[in-house]
């Protein structure tokens, strides 16, 4: 299968600039530096690349929203705040091929006429920060970054910025707020970051994986990228698979790859003779799929949506038939309650309330009526907040409770 992102992640010393260059690195950047920025944006649009952080918004279109000649600088922020439960895909790119990300960023910056860019890396990944910082230092030394990128009349600074533990900062406006030095409260949109982002300037926030796809797209052309995958979901996607599988890890597959085949082949199937019970295909925020629902589903935006879930971040968690679903949901609900920023009433109160109800249920003190109360709380939260965190709690709550209702009821008395 074609490898766009993970082609070199297993190779020796790929983290070193020298090796990265030897294996073809920074040629795409050299190429774009001779191109017209609008032409680059067109190429990215043609590739059909969509944001790999979770929302799946077309990358080229996002870039197209950035106004030119506003008199303000434009910022590119690389979202490396990977924190969606079940997701560990960006990590491998940064740990093993950091220059790919830097090259992707440089390409994006050139296309957007951005001269100052940040990598917002989750603080827990400090061990990766060392790798990324070394790569940045090398890039500066080699003139890949700095006042004259690869000898061209284009200046670019990239700085590494570490978060300090807040899932919500992966949401782009919260990320910006946090980067500005505040509590990571998502902002009301509009205005959108494209016009009023970091320091009220035009800003693009792109996920690590999204940026890492750019060198290949530039080298091979948007059309080549668009020829991979399905009609609407283009290219390849990283899936990080964990839970009850024999070979958990990060795999790159063409969009549309069959979900069950992915679990059974790439991920090595369900170990210990157990059967598949359920799958969270795209991080804990997306609806769970029952084993039955997984049949015939492809790993792409549309197919997963049709099946009642979402592609999300590609953080896949697999559950075998021994799994107690209310306990899983309780773990998930605790997460959202812990990570709610506390700004909007429905999310602040709803995530905490739901988590407590679930804790009661799991500990055997739940009431029969709590099952419906959970669904009511989900309705009360859904679509009523500034950012999607509440909805990210709603989706697992609603899908777990409706699909595994009997398990919940069995825990409740009265």
């Amino acid at each position: 299968m074609i490898k766009i992102l993970l082609e070199n992640t297993d190779k020796v010393d790929q983290v070193r600039l020298e090796k990265y260059k030897q294996r073809g690195g920074y040629r795409a950047l050299r190429k774009v530096l001779t191109m017209d920025p609008p032409a680059i944006i067109e190429e990215v649009k043609a590739s059909g690349l969509r944001g790999r952080g979770g929302a799946g918004f077309p990358t080229g279109m996002k870039w197209g929203f950035v106004p030119r000649n506003t008199g303000k600088p434009t910022y590119l922020l690389c979202n490396a705040d990977e924190s969606e439960p079940g997701t560990f895909k960006d990590r491998i790119l940064m740990e093993r091929d950091p220059h790919l990300m830097i090259e992707g960023m440089a390409i994006a910056c050139y296309a957007l006429n951005c001269h100052l860019s940040y990598i917002y890396l989750r603080g827990e990944y400090e061990f990766i920060a060392h790798t990324v910082q070394r790569a940045l230092d090398e890039a500066y030394e080699a003139g890949v970054l700095g006042p004259s990128v690869l000898g061209h009349d284009f200046a670019l600074d990239i700085h590494l910025h570490l978060g300090q533990g807040a899932y919500i900062c992966g949401e782009e406006t919260a990320l910006i707020e946090s980067l500005e030095g505040y509590r990571g409260y998502p902002r009301i949109k509009p205005p959108f970051p494209a016009t009023h982002g970091f320091l009220a300037s035009p800003t693009v926030v792109n996920n690590v994986e999204t940026l890492c796809a750019l060198p290949w797209i530039i080298t091979n052309g948007g059309a080549a990228y668009a020829s991979i995958g399905t009609e609407k979901s283009k290219g390849t996607k990283l899936f990080s698979v964990s839970g009850h599988v024999a070979k958990p890890g990060v795999y790159e597959v063409e969009m549309g790859y069959p979900l069950l085949e992915f679990i059974n082949k790439e991920a090595g199937g369900i170990p210990n003779g157990h059967k598949l019970k359920a799958v969270i295909p795209g991080g804990s925020s997306v609806p769970v799929l029952t084993a039955q629902e997984c049949e015939g589903v492809g790993l792409d935006y549309e197919s997963l949506l049709k099946a009642g879930s979402m592609l999300g971040s590609g953080g896949m968690i697999v559950f075998d038939d021994t799994t107690k679903m209310p306990e899983v949901l309780s773990v998930i609900a605790d997460f959202y309650a812990h990570e709610s920023c506390g700004q909007c009433t429905p999310c602040r109160e709803g995530t905490g309330w739901a988590a407590k109800i679930l804790r009661n249920m799991v500990s055997g003190t739940g009431k029969w009526s709590d099952v419906d109360l959970l669904l009511k709380i989900a309705d009360m939260m859904e679509g009523k907040t500034i950012c999607p965190l509440a909805d990210a709690d709603v989706m697992p709550i609603r899908s777990f409770v409706t699909k595994y209702r009997r398990e919940f009821e069995a825990l409740c008395s009265s």
Partner: protein, 538 residues
């Protein structure tokens, strides 16, 4: 000027107006906690969600600008359900300690619950997030974290209005609580405002809490007497006692704010003793009580004698920058028309120079009188005397024999006050005949030939002219204390002492006369002095 439809009614909004603002103007109330017209938009409470056609999700009315052709519904079932949901969420961790909460009557949680909620809230106490109660945040404010709905109004006030940033959110999720660093007191000069803007019982006034249930209070619209800014206020009172001052929103003057000193200024009114009846210094030099009618007649005749004996230049009028325009107008009218007096002053401490001088960047001004500009507009300055010191010298030199002096102690104290008052005392002692009008007793008043008790601030209806020449109406909250009378009435009596004037029976009539005869006030109707007031050239 986009046209839009709200609940079936087609209306025009102003450019850039949000739905909540446009709705408010046509009397459509959209429930809200975090929105405040004088604070930056935050959009966190989610109470103002409305249904806008072609928008898939409900949208916050506070953060959505009206656009041409927009169709908004604020009262359909979808919206009501959302509002009910938010209210239910707000009660999840609320202690529901309403019986002992001093916000009752002014609590938006209670109010909206009556309209939208009425659901049962059955979350056991053990499931609620407990937070801290009764935290002392300085002389003005008491904090109860459990009652807080986390609307951030107070946080935004400290961040954006005073720029002091003391109040902040701490923690995350349903453990977020507002507070200050180490429970330190709010240190800004406007801290009381956070109590006003708190929509629930989280921030209550240390001064007012548990003094009176708010529904027993009566409100009178007034203007703060604490400085020359003249903030619009409401005096909340009951049974002859003032319980609190609150800012009234005046976008042209104070927005929704009031400084702490102004807010507390009413306490100065009940500090010290009031003068309860007119007093006349007897032959032995001892002041003795007298009847108003006798006193008025005797003042009038004695001043006329002085004018006849020493010329009208021997009489001086010292107005007060804390008196109303109406009082000062009749004061001057009496002295000039009846006695031919030409010498007038009001400056005890350079008020004319300081009238517009800022004490901070927000509201406070260094001149602690509400009506210095009014006194200036009425011509109560004498170039030759240059202030009260000139009058003292002239009196000592015998050029001035008699004087009528209005003295009202500033409601907001400053170190120079005693010296200013001492100058008034000195003048009184230097005059052969002095008529002093005052509200509160002071030792030096025993030197006055006649002492007349007048209404204090809040007891007299009238107008004040602020530093920028804005004339503002101040209503009367309380009846004048004891035997005192509004100063305008005292001069109306003196003007009527000869039986020649038709007489003024209301401050309104006085204002009309003033508007007729004083160039600065020409063509101004008294109704214009109501919110936000009317500005004359300074």
């Amino acid at each position: 000027m986009p046209k839009f439809t709200i609940n079936g009614q087609e209306v025009e909004a102003r450019d850039g107006q949000t739905i909540i603002q446009a709705a408010e103007e046509i009397g459509v109330d959209i429930p809200h906690y975090c929105y405040h017209p004088d604070l930056p938009i935050d959009g966190n409470c989610r109470m103002c969600l409305v249904d806008v056609e072609r928008m898939p999700k409900l949208t916050p009315a506070c953060a959505t600008v009206v656009t041409e052709g927009m169709v908004v519904r604020t009262n359909n079932e979808r919206v009501k359900e959302a509002v009910r949901g938010v209210l239910e969420f707000l009660l999840v961790n609320h202690p529901v300690d309403c019986p002992v909460c001093d916000q009752a009557g002014e609590c938006r949680l209670q109010d909206y619950y009556m309209v939208y909620g009425l659901h049962t809230s059955e979350i056991p106490l053990g499931m609620k997030v407990r937070k801290r109660k009764v935290i002392d945040l300085g002389p003005m404010v008491v904090l109860d974290q459990e009652r807080c709905v986390l609307c951030s109004r107070c946080v935004r006030f400290c961040d954006h209005v005073t720029g002091t940033g003391e109040l902040q959110f701490f923690g995350r999720g349903d453990h977020v609580a507002i507070g200050t660093f180490e429970d330190r007191p709010l240190e800004n000069a406007y801290s009381g405002n956070v109590v006003d803007i708190c929509p629930v019982g989280a921030l209550t006034s240390r001064d007012f809490r548990f003094k009176c249930r708010v529904w027993f209070l009566h409100g009178a619209d007034s203007v703060c007497g604490g400085c020359s800014t003249g903030c619009s206020v409401r005096i909340d009172h009951r049974d002859g006692t003032i319980f609190r001052l609150l800012p009234r929103r005046n976008p042209e003057v104070n927005k929704s704010w009031l400084c702490d000193e102004g807010r507390m200024s009413f306490h100065a009114l009940s500090t010290g003793s009031r003068i309860v009846q007119p007093k006349v210094k007897g032959p032995a030099g001892v002041p003795t009580a007298a009847r108003w009618d006798e006193v008025i007649a005797s003042i009038n005749s004695r001043l006329k004698e002085t004018a006849a004996a020493h010329g009208s230049g021997s009489i001086i009028g010292i107005g007060s920058a804390s008196a109303t325009n109406e009082a000062l107008f009749l004061f001057k009218r009496y002295l000039s028309d009846r006695l031919g007096a030409t010498r007038f002053e009001f400056r005890l401490d350079g008020e004319d120079r300081r009238v517009a001088e800022r004490e901070d960047d927000l509201l406070r001004r260094t001149d602690k009188h509400p009506n210095s500009m009014g006194a200036m507009k009425l011509g109560l300055m004498d170039a030759e005397l240059g202030g009260i010191e000139g009058a003292i010298s002239a009196a000592r030199a015998g050029r001035i024999k008699a004087g009528v002096i209005i003295y009202l102690k500033p409601l907001v104290a400053r170190p120079g006050d005693d010296a200013a008052e001492a100058r008034v005392a000195e003048l009184v002692r230097s005059l052969e005949y002095s008529v002093v009008l005052a509200a509160h007793e002071a030792d030096w008043q025993s030197a006055a030939s006649v002492l007349l008790p007048i209404a204090a601030w809040s007891e007299e209806e009238g107008t004040y002219t602020n530093y920028e020449g804005r004339i503002q109406f101040a209503g009367r909250a309380l009846a004048p204390d004891g035997g005192s009378r509004p100063a305008w009435q005292v001069f109306a009596l003196l003007l009527g002492a000869d039986g020649t004037e038709p007489g003024w029976t209301s401050p309104e009539q006085v204002f009309e006369s003033m508007a007729e005869s004083i160039p600065a006030y020409r063509n101004i109707a008294r109704s214009q002095t109501r919110l936000p007031g009317v500005v004359i050239a300074v």
